[in-house]
Subunit: 305 residues, 2 copies
Amino acid sequence: VTEPQLIALDWGTSNLRASLLGTGGRVLAQRAGASGIMAVPERRFAEALLAVVGDWLDEHKLPLIASGMIGSRQGWREAPYLACPASRADAAHHVVTVPVRDGAVLHIAPGLQCTGADGEADVMRGEETQVWGAGLAAGTCCVLPGTHSKWAWTGAGDTIERFSTYMTGELYALLTQHSILGRLMRFEGPDAAAFERGAALGLAAPADVMHTIFAARTAGLMERLPAASLPDFLSGILIGAEIGSATRNAKPARLTLLGEAALCGRYAAALKLAGIAAELAGADATTRGQWQIAGDAGLVKDQET
Amino acid sequence: VTEPQLIALDWGTSNLRASLLGTGGRVLAQRAGASGIMAVPERRFAEALLAVVGDWLDEHKLPLIASGMIGSRQGWREAPYLACPASRADAAHHVVTVPVRDGAVLHIAPGLQCTGADGEADVMRGEETQVWGAGLAAGTCCVLPGTHSKWAWTGAGDTIERFSTYMTGELYALLTQHSILGRLMRFEGPDAAAFERGAALGLAAPADVMHTIFAARTAGLMERLPAASLPDFLSGILIGAEIGSATRNAKPARLTLLGEAALCGRYAAALKLAGIAAELAGADATTRGQWQIAGDAGLVKDQET
């Protein structure tokens, strides 16, 4: 029987996912709720946290670690961004703490920042923990699809060398929900052929994406695609343009996808069109990364073998 | 004294602008209202039209011509898109009619369609009339900034050879009003320096625009730009990326801007950064185009000199 050793929190903008971890970071129990930082009223973070894991704390006196937007300025306590390249040990060294209740302290892992070739800053919070948890070799390119899709490159040791954010998921949501493109759309099941047609368009000319997305209107107007195909056509254009942009200067032969399975499947299909092989990382990258940072920070004995 | 000869309607999605035109297309009176096609209840277009120009029709028995979205499937009567290259005479030949009331008929000019290098369709409605009205030389590149910005190239005679739509204005509205980028923004007066900084970024790498727009968040987070500068920084990125995209295969030395003065001013500033000279077309391009199409269609005697 494994004794619980750590409560690990993936605490983002919209959701809070809590994991009870045993020796080696094994997941003993998991709970999720809609207590993302934007949903916590009047900054009552302790209350929101105890509502989810209070009984775990009552039963076992455990350390707590969190990654994600909970460490942002809008979160519970700010854990300033570490500059890239940054290692897992750097992150563990810069964990910040906040009291939860008598005897219980939450440790919050910092996010990362880096400066792009264009001189502008980029930031991530939470994804760095997933990348470390995935245990990638140096020189790997990995992609974490989502609202704000991240492309990260690993360096020597377990450093994250640099990364780049694409607003792909948020653009898709905005364009389907609020733009003229949504007016002709019907939302049914996925349409792989329409997705691939869009992805080919996006890949062929990422520089034209603000033009190409208009084809998701004209293809409907001209009855070249049925209304139910237009959402995936648009999704393909955006994901294709993201991949085309991120790989236009140096195209990796393969990369690692980290994230939700269905979305990773879309990316894998578009990457295949681009001639890039995609490998899916294990689904437990987040809790593995949290366990390892907690180990580096001395919160748990990492007896992982 | 000039007798009124034509009622010309610029009837779009959001607005209806009516002009009373005299000999040579001279503007005698103008009225504008929020009776765009999306604001007309239960397709009561005749009622909406008469509310704006009923007294003009009572007083003078005049022909009526309209351009814009009123000729779309969601409008009063569909005037099918003409394929490019298309001349003004082609448009006049394909005007459709709809009865307004006894003795009064509305003539609706068709929009244009063309097929891009990527094989996808593109469409415009209303802008073609402005381009013709601007009286451009063959081989001119002209830009009509807006919600859906249009780049059009003129051909021999007065044909419009081809064109390309960019969703720039709509993306700006979506990102400022509904995305995470808007959360850090404050909306005050224009900030030309922030706009130019954004435009330089957008121009330098249009292929990266889905990444670069995230700088409108990080520049705020990192306090590189004040909150009040972020809207124009984002506007610059988007307009810069549009120009970079539209001119990446063939950069014109000069082009013509057609549209609202303040927005054309932004485009002129970004075009200057790209080394492209911009000329502003006359503000009366729409009514001139409508007058000329009405002349070609035999609705008025075009005595313009």
